[in-house]
C-alpha cells in the first residue's frame, strides 16, 4: 500500500474542505465510505492517494418514501436498502439488483454512494503489472484493446477505454430516471443519474461530474408504475457472487397486455449504466410477444462495437432484454 493518512472529519464541512474527489484515479485525496472497493484498490496499488477522507458517520443513511418518491441516503448500506419495505414494494428492480450483487457480508458494509462510484472490473485496470491503462494512469494507453475483452464493454467505448461500468445498482436505478444529490461547500445541486457518469472519450480517468470536495449525499427516485412493475436480470457464469456478464433492468407500464411505456437499461455492456431509448420507443405500444420484443431489443445494439472476447454480449444483451421484459410483464 502506498502510505496515506486517514482523516476522519468531524462534520461534512470538514469533508468538503478536504478537497477529496471520487471517480478520478489521479486525485491525490479521495473519500472512503464502506471501503469494500477502496481497500482492494489500495492493496493492489491501483489507487495511491496520499490522503483518505472518511465519510463514515457524516452522511445520512435513511431510506424514505415521500410523495416525491424514494430517497436513499448515500450512507445507507446495500443490505438495508435491499431489505426496505418501500423498496421491495414500489421499486423491486432496485432490491433485485442489490441482492444479485456481491455477498451478504459485502452488502452489510458497502454503501449506496460507494456503489455508484465503484471502479471498473477491467482486469487491466486492476493489474498494475500492466503499465498501460488510461483510466489508471492518464495517457498511458489501453491494455484491454487487443487483449482479453470478456469483461469489457461494447457500448459507449472509445479508442482510449472500453471498460464496463461494474455496478448493478446503477443499472437498475438509471432505468428509473433518478437524480443524484451532490453536496459541497458551495451547497447542493442535483444531477440526473444518466448524466452523473461520463463516457470515457479521451479522458477515461474522469468518471463522473463530481468536483473536488463534492460528495454524493443521496439519490431520489420518482415513484411510478414503471418502478412498481420492474425487474432486474443478471447473467453470469456462476449462480451468485459474481459481476454481470450482461444484465438488464426493465420497468413496464402495461395496459391490457400492451406496453404503454417501457424503461430499459443494460449492465456489463456499457462504459456507463446504459439506457436504450431506441428500444424503449420501439416497445411503446407493443404486445408482450416474443417476436415484437426481439425486434425492439435488436435496437440496443446500435453503435455496439464488439472486440473479440466480448462479441457474445451483442447477442446476449438482446436476449436478456427480452427475458427481463417477459418476467416483468408476467408480474401481477
Amino acid at each position: 500500500m502506498h502510505p496515506f493518512s486517514l482523516e476522519r472529519p468531524r462534520d461534512l464541512a470538514g469533508a468538503f474542505a478536504s478537497g477529496a474527489q471520487a471517480g478520478r484515479n489521479d486525485a491525490p485525496i479521495e473519500f472512503i465510505a464502506g471501503g469494500t472497493d477502496m481497500v482492494q484498490l489500495l492493496q493492489e496499488h491501483v489507487r495511491r492517494p496520499d490522503r483518505l477522507v472518511s465519510l463514515s458517520g457524516l452522511l445520512d443513511a435513511t431510506i424514505e418514501l415521500s410523495p416525491e418518491g424514494l430517497r436513499i441516503g448515500a450512507a445507507a448500506t446495500m443490505a438495508d436498502t435491499a431489505a426496505h419495505p418501500a423498496v421491495l414494494e414500489g421499486f423491486p428492480v432496485i432490491a433485485e439488483a442489490l441482492l444479485a450483487s456481491a455477498s451478504p457480508q459485502v452488502r452489510n458494509q458497502a454503501t449506496i454512494g460507494g456503489n455508484l462510484l465503484q471502479r471498473t472490473r477491467c482486469p487491466y485496470f486492476r493489474d498494475v503489472g500492466y503499465a498501460a491503462c488510461n483510466k489508471r494512469a492518464p495517457g498511458s494507453g489501453c491494455s484491454a484493446l487487443g487483449g482479453e475483452t470478456r469483461w469489457n464493454a461494447v457500448l459507449g467505448t472509445s479508442q482510449s477505454c472500453i471498460a464496463a461500468h461494474a455496478s448493478d445498482l446503477a443499472v437498475a436505478l438509471v432505468a428509473l430516471d433518478p437524480v443524484v444529490e451532490l453536496r459541497s461547500a458551495s451547497g447542493q445541486r442535483t444531477v440526473p443519474l444518466a448524466e452523473f457518469h461520463r463516457l470515457p472519450g479521451e479522458t477515461p480517468h474522469i468518471e463522473t461530474v463530481l468536483e473536488p470536495g463534492e460528495v454524493v449525499a443521496g439519490i431520489l427516485v420518482p415513484a411510478s408504475p414503471i418502478a412498481r412493475r420492474s425487474h432486474y436480470l443478471k447473467v453470469r457464469d456462476r449462480a451468485s457472487f459474481e459481476f454481470a456478464l450482461v444484465s438488464a433492468a426493465v420497468g413496464l407500464d402495461l395496459e391490457d397486455g400492451i406496453i404503454r411505456d417501457a424503461h430499459v437499461a443494460l449492465g456489463g455492456v456499457g462504459t456507463k449504466p446504459w439506457r436504450v431509448p431506441e428500444v424503449e420507443a420501439a416497445l411503446s405500444g407493443a404486445a408482450l410477444e416474443e417476436a415484437a420484443l426481439r425486434q425492439a431489443a435488436a435496437l440496443a445494439t446500435q453503435g455496439a462495437e464488439p472486440r473479440g472476447g466480448n462479441a457474445f454480449k451483442i447477442e446476449l444483451m438482446q436476449r436478456a432484454i427480452v427475458r427481463a421484459i417477459q418476467t416483468a410483464g408476467a408480474r401481477a
Binding site: 500500500m1 493489474d127 487483449g147 482479453e148 469483461w151 447473467v235 457464469d237 456462476r238 449462480a239 446476449l316
Partner: protein, 711 residues
C-alpha cells in the same frame, strides 16, 4: 465398550478448533521479532533483467533489506528431486541471475519492519527488461515428446504406446468418432494463501509453512542452502486447502529463508491472491484428440488418444492424461501419445486428480458421442466394453466395482426414466439434461512411518508427519489408532505436520489413508502387543497401569510386489442433471449422484464430505474455472477470485448423493483402503457436458461451458 472405530461416521475432532479460529495456520504463528517480506515480480515473460533500481525502495521507511540477483546470497542449489518434482529439468533458482523465464517470476525481495512497509517498498523497485520473444500461446508452440531418461525415481511412463493396429482398426470401423477436446489452465485457488515463516538459529532453520509434505520442504531447502536436512524443522499442522498446490516446495519458501538469513531475524512471507497465479503451479492447459472406432453393437475396435499440455521452459511437468484410454475399457487396438509444449510459464503441477481428470473428460465425452451415434444408452455402451483385466498392464484388477457403481448410482438417480432424445426433457423454460460418466483413479500406496506411545495413565500419543489439507487426517488417523490400540477415541492424541515426526509420503495422490493409515495401524498394534506381553494383562488400560512406564513402538510400512501382480484403482460412476437456460446460456447443476468403489471407507462422514467437495470442484471445472492467459505477454488476466469463479454455495446442487459400494480388497494395502480424494472430481466434468448435450443437443468440447458457449 467397543473400540471398533474404523467405518464409523466420527465427526471431525478438529472441527471446533477450525470454526472457532483455534487452528493455527502457517502465517498465523508468532515468531517473536519477525520482519515481513514482499516479493517483486517480473512483468515480462522472457528475457533478461536489463536494469533494476532498488535505491528508493532501500530508502523507504522500515526497510531492512532489498535483495535482487545482484546482491542476494549465492546459494548452492544442490541437486534434489522430491517425489512431486518433475523428473526432467531444473527448478527455478531465485535471485541468482538476470534470466526471466515467466511472468510473475520473483526478481526482488523486500524485507521490512511491517507488512505494509514491505509491500509499499516493493512497488518502488523498478526493473527494465531485454525481452525475448516469449512462448505464451499453446497453439503456437510445437509440442514435443517428453525426454525419456532413467533417473533415481525410475523410468517415466512411456509417452507413446500402441497395442494392436489402432489406425487400421479405426479405418475399418463401422462407426467413427474423432474430435478435439480442450481443458484450459486451472488454478487450485485454495482459500488459504501460501505462506512461510522462516527463523534461523545459527545454521539451524525452522519453517512454519503451508505444505502437503513437510519432509520434502526440509529436503529441498537443505539442498538449496547446502545444509543437512536434519538442521531444518518444518511445522505445518493445518492446511487451509491446497488441492496439490502444497506438494512441491516453491520458490517463495526459499525466499523467506533468504530474507531471514539476511535480516538476521525471523521473516514472514505470505503470497497475495494475485501472486498465487504465478507461484504455486496449476492444472496445465491441455489439448487432446480422441478417435474411437466401434462396431454397430457398441464394441470398441480402436482408441486413438493424443494429448499435449503446457509446461515451463525449465522443467518437464508431465501428468498421466492417458490412463483412461489405456486401461479403462476393453479394446484390442489402442494408440496413445503424450507430448508437452514448452512455454514461458511457471511450471504447472498436480491439481486434484492430475491428468486423470483431463484425459477422462476427453474419453468420457467421446464415449457419449459414440453412444449417441449408436443410439445406445451410455451406461449400456460402457457395460459392453467392460474389461476382464487391465489390458494395458495385462494384470488382473485387485478389485473393480464399475458395474456395481453404475447400477446403484443409476438406480438412485432414476436413470431408467431418461428419455434419450436431446431437448426432450424440460422444466418450464429450462432444458433439462441427464448425463453420466465413469470415474477412476489409481490406488497409490507409498512407504510411510508412524510412532505410537502408550502412557501409564492409559492414554496414547500417536504421531506421523502427515498433513491434513481438509480431508480429515486428524480424525481418521485417531480412529485407526484407537481401534488398533483398543482405546477410546478421547484417550488417543494423534498429531501430524512436523518433520520431527516419522516420515510419510506426500499428502496427495489419494494415498494418505492407505499409507499413513497402514503405518499408524502397524505402530499401534505393535505398541499394544508389546504392552500386553510385557505386563501380562489382557486389557490395555490395565496393562499400562501395571507397567507404570511408557511403551513406545514405531512402524514402517511399504508396498510389496502387489503392483506387479495387480492393477489397482478406485472406480466410480457419476450421474448428473443439469438445467440449461436456452436463451441466456446459463447452466446449473440440479442433481448429482456419485457411486464409488474405493475399498474400505474408514470414516463415511468425512469421506462423503470429501466426495461432495470433489464433485463441486468438478462443477467448477465443467462450468466456470478458466485462467485466462493474455497471449500477448503470458499474464493471467483474471488472477483474482472475482473474475476466476469457483463454485459458491448457490452452485452446489440441492441434491447430492454419495454412495459407497461395499468392497473388500485384501491386495492394495494392510488397511484395504483405496482413497477417494481425487476420484471424486474425476468424471464430473464429462457427466455435466454430456448432460448439457442431452439438454440442448450441443456438444461442447472445450471447458468451461460458460454462457457465451451456449447462446
Amino acid at each position: 465398550m467397543t473400540t471398533a472405530f474404523i467405518g464409523k461416521p466420527v465427526s471431525r475432532i478438529d472441527g471446533r478448533q477450525k470454526v472457532t479460529g483455534g487452528a493455527t495456520y502457517a502465517a498465523e504463528f508468532v515468531a517473536p521479532g519477525a520482519a515481513h517480506a514482499a516479493i517483486v515480480r517480473s512483468t515480462a515473460a522472457s528475457g533478461r533483467i536489463a536494469s533494476i533500481d532498488s535505491a528508493s525502495a532501500e530508502r523507504a521507511q522500515g526497510v531492512i533489506a532489498v535483495l535482487t540477483h545482484r546482491n542476494a546470497p549465492r546459494l548452492p542449489y544442490r541437486e534434489h528431486k522430491g517425489i512431486p518434482d518433475p523428473v526432467i529439468g531444473e527448478r527455478l533458482h531465485v535471485l541468482q541471475d538476470d534470466r526471466v523465464n515467466h511472468q510473475g517470476q520473483p526478481i526482488a525481495l523486500v524485507v521490512a519492519e511491517t507488512l505494509e512497509q514491505a509491500q509499499h517498498a516493493a512497488t518502488l523497485v523498478h526493473a527494465t527488461y531485454d525481452q525475448d520473444a516469449a512462448a505464451t500461446d499453446i497453439n503456437q508452440v510445437e509440442p514435443v515428446l517428453p525426454t525419456q531418461e532413467k533417473t533415481d525415481q525410475g523410468e517415466a511412463q512411456s509417452p507413446e504406446t500402441r497395442r494392436g493396429d489402432p489406425e487400421g482398426a479405426l479405418a475399418a470401423a463401422e462407426l467413427k468418432i474423432d474430435h478435439g477436446y480442450v481443458i484450459p489452465r486451472e488454478h487450485h485457488n485454495p482459500l488459504e494463501m501460501h505462506a512461510t515463516i522462516a527463523a534461523w538459529d545459527g545454521d539451524r532453520l525452522t519453517l512454519w509453512d503451508k505444505t502437503q509434505f513437510v519432509h520434502n520442504v526440509a529436503d529441498e531447502i537443505a539442498a538449496v542452502f547446502g545444509i543437512p536436512a536434519e538442521n531444518i524443522r518444518v511445522i505445518s499442522p493445518f492446511v487451509g486447502g491446497a488441492f496439490g498446490s502444497g506438494l512441491r516446495t516453491w520458490p517463495h519458501v526459499t525466499l523467506a529463508a533468504i530474507g531471514a538469513r539476511v535480516a538476521k531475524r525471523p521473516v514472514k512471507l505470505m503470497l497475495s491472491r494475485r501472486e498465487m497465479y504465478y507461484s504455486v503451479g496449476y492444472r496445465p492447459h491441455t489439448v487432446q484428440r480422441v478417435a474411437l472406432g466401434a462396431s454397430r453393437d457398441g464394441r470398441l475396435a480402436a482408441i486413438l488418444h493424443d494429448a499435449h499440455q503446457e509446461t515451463s521452459t525449465y522443467e518437464e511437468f508431465s501428468e498421466s492424461i492417458l490412463d483412461a484410454s489405456r486401461f479403462l475399457y476393453s479394446c484390442p487396438n489402442v494408440y496413445t501419445r503424450h507430448r508437452i509444449a514448452h512455454m514461458n510459464v511457471n511450471t504447472p503441477t498436480y491439481m486434484r486428480a492430475p491428468g486423470v481428470a483431463s484425459g477422462n473428460f476427453a474419453l468420457e465425452s467421446a464415449l457419449d458421442e459414440l453412444a449417441v451415434a449408436l443410439d445406445m444408452d451410455p451406461v449400456e455402451l460402457r457395460l459392453r466394453n467392460e474389461p476382464d483385466r487391465d489390458e494395458f498392464s495385462n494384470l488382473p484388477f485387485s478389485s473393480r466395482s464399475t458395474r456395481e457403481c453404475y447400477r446403484v448410482a443409476a438406480e438412485r438417480f432414476g436413470w431408467s426414466r431418461r428419455s434419450p432424445e436431446p431437448r426432450s426433457m424440460r422444466d418450464g423454460r429450462s432444458l433439462v439434461g441427464w448425463g453420466m460418466a465413469t470415474a477412476h483413479y489409481p490406488m497409490h500406496y507409498a512407504p510411510a512411518s508412524a510412532k505410537a506411545r502408550l502412557l501409564p495413565d492409559g492414554t496414547a500419543e500417536v504421531t506421523s508427519a502427515a498433513s491434513d489439507m481438509g480431508p480429515g487426517t486428524w480424525t481418521s488417523m485417531t480412529q485407526v489408532a484407537a481401534e488398533a490400540l483398543g482405546l477410546p477415541l478421547d484417550r488417543v492424541k494423534f498429531t501430524l505436520g512436523d518433520t520431527r515426526m516419522p516420515r510419510t509420503p506426500p499428502h496427495g495422490g489419494s494415498m494418505t489413508m492407505a499409507s499413513v493409515g497402514s503405518a499408524v495401524q502397524a505402530a499401534c498394534r505393535k505398541a499394544r502387543e508389546d504392552a500386553l506381553a510385557r505386563s501380562g494383562a489382557s486389557e490395555i488400560g490395565d496393562a499400562m497401569h501395571r507397567l507404570g512406564q511408557p511403551v513406545e513402538a514405531s512402524a514402517d510400512v511399504k508396498p510389496g510386489d502387489e503392483t506387479q501382480r495387480f492393477s489397482m484403482h478406485s472406480f466410480g460412476a457419476v450421474f448428473v442433471e443439469v438445467a440449461v437456460d436456452p436463451d441466456l446460456g446459463e447452466t446449473r447443476v440440479r442433481r448429482m449422484v456419485g457411486a464409488y468403489g474405493a475399498g474400505r471407507i474408514v470414516n463415511p462422514k468425512l469421506t462423503r464430505s470429501q466426495c461432495i467437495g470433489g464433485m463441486i470442484g468438478g462443477i467448477g471445472m465443467a462450468l466456470m474455472e478458466h485462467s485466462v492467459v493474455d497471449a500477448r505477454n503470458g499474464r493471467v488476466t483474471n488472477a483474482n477470485l472475482a473474475e476466476y469463479p469457483v463454485p459458491v454455495h448457490a452452485d452446489a446442487p440441492p441434491v447430492m448423493d454419495v454412495l459407497f459400494v461395499e468392497e473388500h480388497d485384501p491386495h492394495v494395502n494392510p488397511l484395504g483402503v483405496k482413497g477417494v480424494g481425487e476420484i471424486a472430481l474425476v468424471g464430473v466434468a464429462p457427466a455435466i457436458t454430456n448432460a448439457i448435450y442431452h439438454a440442448t443437443g450441443r456438444r461442447i468440447r472445450e471447458l468451461p461451458v460458460t454462457p457465451d458457449k451456449l447462446i
